[in-house]
C-alpha cells in the first residue's frame, strides 16, 4: 500500500507524445503591463501546491504546480468541457490562473494521469485534482514559493524558454509500466470503505456582530433583516450556546459556526438580563 502511495505521489511525469509540442507558447506575451502576479494557492492534504485555473473560460479547476511535469496537462474530461479540439492529445487553451494571470494561447495535453486518477479515487488530496501546470507554463516566470505566505509570486521573465522535447520513442513506457497504479487505487478505494466526496457547502449566514472579552461573547449588533434579527436576537445578549456547543470563548464560537451549513436551522441560547432565552434561527445564504 505505502508503495502505491509513493508511486502516485512522486508527481513526476515523463509521458508526453513526442514531437507534438510547438514553440508558440514560449513566444513573449502581447504587451502586458503587469509582470508581477500574486497567485492564491493552497496546500492539499497530500502537500501538493494547488492553484485554480480556468481553461477557455470554463472552471475553476484544481491544478498542481509541478516542475516534475513537462507541460500543462489535464484530464480528458476537463479538456472535453473546454470544447478544444485535440490533435494527438494536444490543444490550444486560454489559461487563466486565479490571481489575475492570463496566458491567451498555451499548448496543453489532455490525458488521464494515473497519479491524479489514483489520488482522486482515494480522495487523498482532500480536493478533486484536474491537472498539472508544468514546464511550458512555469518556465515563463520566476516563481516564489513561501508556505508562510498565502500567495505565490509569479514574475514574468523577459525570455523565451527553450522548447522542450519528450523522452521520445527510446523511453517508450517512460512511466515504467506504472499506469496500472491509478486503476489499482480505483479498485482499492471502495474495498477500504472510501467514497470521496469533493463537494463543499457554504456556512450559514446569521448576522450577528460580536465582541468577546474573557469567557463572555456578547452580541454587539444585529443587522436588520438578517436571520438573527428575524429570530429575535438583541444587542447585549450573551451567547451561552450555539448549535449545541457551549460558548466560553471566541474559539468555541468559531468551532461551533464552522459546522453550520447554509439553510440549517439551529438553536442559539442567550443570557438576556436576568433570564435565559432559546432562539431558533434559520440560517441564510451569504456571509
Amino acid at each position: 500500500m505505502s508503495r502505491l502511495f509513493a508511486l502516485l505521489c512522486a508527481g513526476l511525469i515523463s509521458q508526453i507524445p513526442s514531437g507534438a509540442l510547438r514553440a508558440d507558447e514560449t513566444a513573449p506575451l502581447p504587451r502586458e503591463v503587469r509582470t508581477r502576479f500574486e497567485i492564491p494557492y493552497r496546500l492539499t492534504d497530500t502537500k501538493h501546491v494547488l492553484v485554480r485555473v480556468r481553461l477557455n473560460g470554463k472552471g475553476p479547476f484544481n491544478f498542481i504546480i509541478d516542475t516534475g511535469a513537462p507541460a500543462l496537462i489535464m484530464s480528458e474530461k476537463i479538456s472535453e468541457k473546454t470544447g478544444v479540439v485535440n490533435e494527438k492529445g494536444w490543444g490550444k487553451y486560454r489559461l487563466e490562473i486565479e490571481g489575475g494571470l492570463t496566458l491567451p494561447a498555451t499548448s496543453g495535453l489532455a490525458t488521464d494521469m494515473f497519479q491524479l486518477k489514483g489520488m482522486n479515487a482515494m480522495g487523498l488530496a482532500g480536493v478533486e485534482l484536474h491537472g498539472v501546470l508544468g514546464y511550458n507554463i512555469l518556465s515563463q516566470f520566476r516563481i516564489e514559493y513561501d508556505f508562510t505566505a498565502d500567495k505565490l509570486i509569479f514574475t514574468k521573465l523577459a525570455f523565451s524558454p527553450p522548447k522542450m522535447v519528450g523522452l521520445g520513442e527510446k523511453a517508450k513506457g517512460g512511466q515504467g509500466g506504472l499506469e496500472f497504479a491509478g486503476d489499482a487505487m480505483k479498485m482499492l478505494a471502495p474495498l477500504m470503505g472510501i467514497k470521496p466526496n469533493f463537494e463543499t457547502r457554504s456556512r450559514g449566514l446569521i448576522g450577528i456582530e460580536i465582541e468577546s472579552s474573557g469567557s463572555t461573547v456578547r452580541v454587539r449588533s444585529v443587522f436588520a433583516g438578517s436571520p438573527a434579527d428575524k429570530a429575535g436576537v438583541l444587542v447585549g445578549d450573551v451567547l451561552v450556546s450555539v448549535a449545541g456547543k457551549k460558548i466560553s470563548s471566541g474559539d468555541d464560537l468559531t468551532q461551533a459556526i464552522a459546522k453550520i451549513a447554509a439553510g440549517d436551522k439551529i438553536e442559539i441560547r442567550v443570557e438576556r438580563g436576568e433570564g435565559k432565552k432559546s432562539l431558533t434561527i434559520e440560517t441564510g445564504k451569504g456571509l
Partner: protein
C-alpha cells in the same frame, strides 16, 4: 486490514521528522540547476554528507525519494529498498548547494520513472537517482528561475508536516465521514446574501440583500452586483466565496471586485467580528 497496518508502521518511523529552526536574519542562498531538454531540472545533492548525487527537483512531489543504490551509499537505508521494498527513512542531513537541512524524511525506492530518466540521460548527465520534494523545499522561501537556471532559498521557519501521516489522516477521515461534504466558512461577518442557480455557470456570484449597517453596505456593495473576487480569489460559488473569505480575518481591509452595469469596480471591504 493488513496493508493499513503496515502503512501505519511506516508513519511511526517517519514521525520523528522535524525542521531546522529559522535564523534571525536568514541568508538567501543561490543554487544553480541543470535544465534537461524534457523541461525537468536536476540539482546536485549531498545526503548524510555523501555524494553529490543528481536528483530531479519536483515541486509536485510531496515526498523525497531516492533509489536503493544511493540509499545504501549514503547510509539512509540499511539495504532493503527496491521496488518491492519501499521504505521510509530519515536523512540526518541533506545539502542542496550550500543549503543544509537536517532530519529530512525520505522514501527509498527504485521508482520506474526516475529509472527511465536516468537511463535516457546517462550519457550526458550520469546517473539520476531520485527526487527532491516538499519535505526539503517547504522549509524555505524559494524561487525558481528558468532564465537564470537558478533556485534561491531563504529559511522561513515553516515546518512541513509529514505527508504520509497527512494522507493516513485523509484516508481515515474519508472512511469515517463517508461522503459527508465539507463546509467552507468565512472568518468574519460581511453582511450580504448571495446565491447562484445550478444553471448559472458564468464566473462570480450574484449579491442578493446587502444588510443595513454591515461592512458590505459601508463599502458600497449593491444588491445585483456580480461578486467576482475577494482579495484576488475567485468567488464562483457561494462555497467559493466563503473559502475566499476564510482567509480574511475581521478588521482587515481587502479589495473586492464586482461587475455592475457591465463595468468592473474594485471596492475596499473590512469585515467585522461575527457570523
Amino acid at each position: 486490514m493488513k496493508s493499513l497496518h503496515i502503512f501505519t508502521l511506516a508513519i511511526a518511523l517517519a514521525g520523528v521528522s522535524g525542521a531546522s529552526a529559522a535564523e534571525p536574519t536568514p541568508p538567501t542562498v543561490k543554487v544553480p540547476f541543470v535544465l534537461l531538454p524534457t523541461g525537468h531540472f536536476l540539482v546536485a545533492v549531498k545526503l548524510n554528507d555523501k555524494g553529490p548525487y543528481k536528483l530531479i527537483f519536483d515541486t509536485g512531489a510531496p515526498t523525497m525519494l531516492i533509489n536503493s543504490r544511493i540509499g545504501k551509499d549514503s547510509g539512509a537505508s540499511k539495504g532493503g529498498g527496491g521496488f518491492f521494498g519501499a521504505n521510509q527513512s530519515t536523512l540526518k542531513s541533506m545539502e542542496v548547494g550550500s543549503v543544509r537541512a537536517e532530519k529530512v524524511p525520505v522514501v527509498v525506492m527504485d521508482h520506474p520513472t526516475v529509472d527511465a530518466f536516468s537511463k535516457f540521460f546517462k550519457a550526458e548527465h550520469g546517473s539520476i537517482d531520485g527526487i527532491v520534494g516538499f519535505p526539503f523545499f517547504a522549509r524555505y522561501r524559494m524561487t525558481v528561475d528558468y532564465q537564470q537556471k537558478e533556485l534561491t532559498f531563504t529559511p522561513n521557519g515553516y515546518l512541513p508536516a509529514d505527508v504520509t501521516q497527512a494522507m493516513m489522516l485523509a484516508i481515515t477521515s474519508a472512511q469515517n465521514d463517508k461522503g459527508k461534504s465539507k463546509i467552507a466558512s468565512a472568518s468574519a461577518l460581511w453582511g450580504f446574501t448571495a446565491d447562484k442557480s445550478a444553471s448559472d455557470d458564468a464566473a462570480g456570484v450574484a449579491l442578493g440583500e446587502i444588510l443595513k449597517g454591515s461592512p458590505a453596505e459601508k463599502a458600497g456593495l449593491k444588491s445585483g452586483d456580480r461578486l467576482m473576487t475577494i482579495d484576488g480569489r475567485w468567488t464562483d460559488s457561494l462555497a467559493d466565496t466563503h473559502a475566499a473569505a476564510s482567509k480574511i480575518d475581521a478588521g482587515r481591509t481587502v479589495p473586492v471586485t464586482v461587475l455592475r452595469d457591465g463595468k468592473e469596480l474594485t471596492l475596499q471591504v473590512s469585515p467585522v467580528k461575527g457570523f
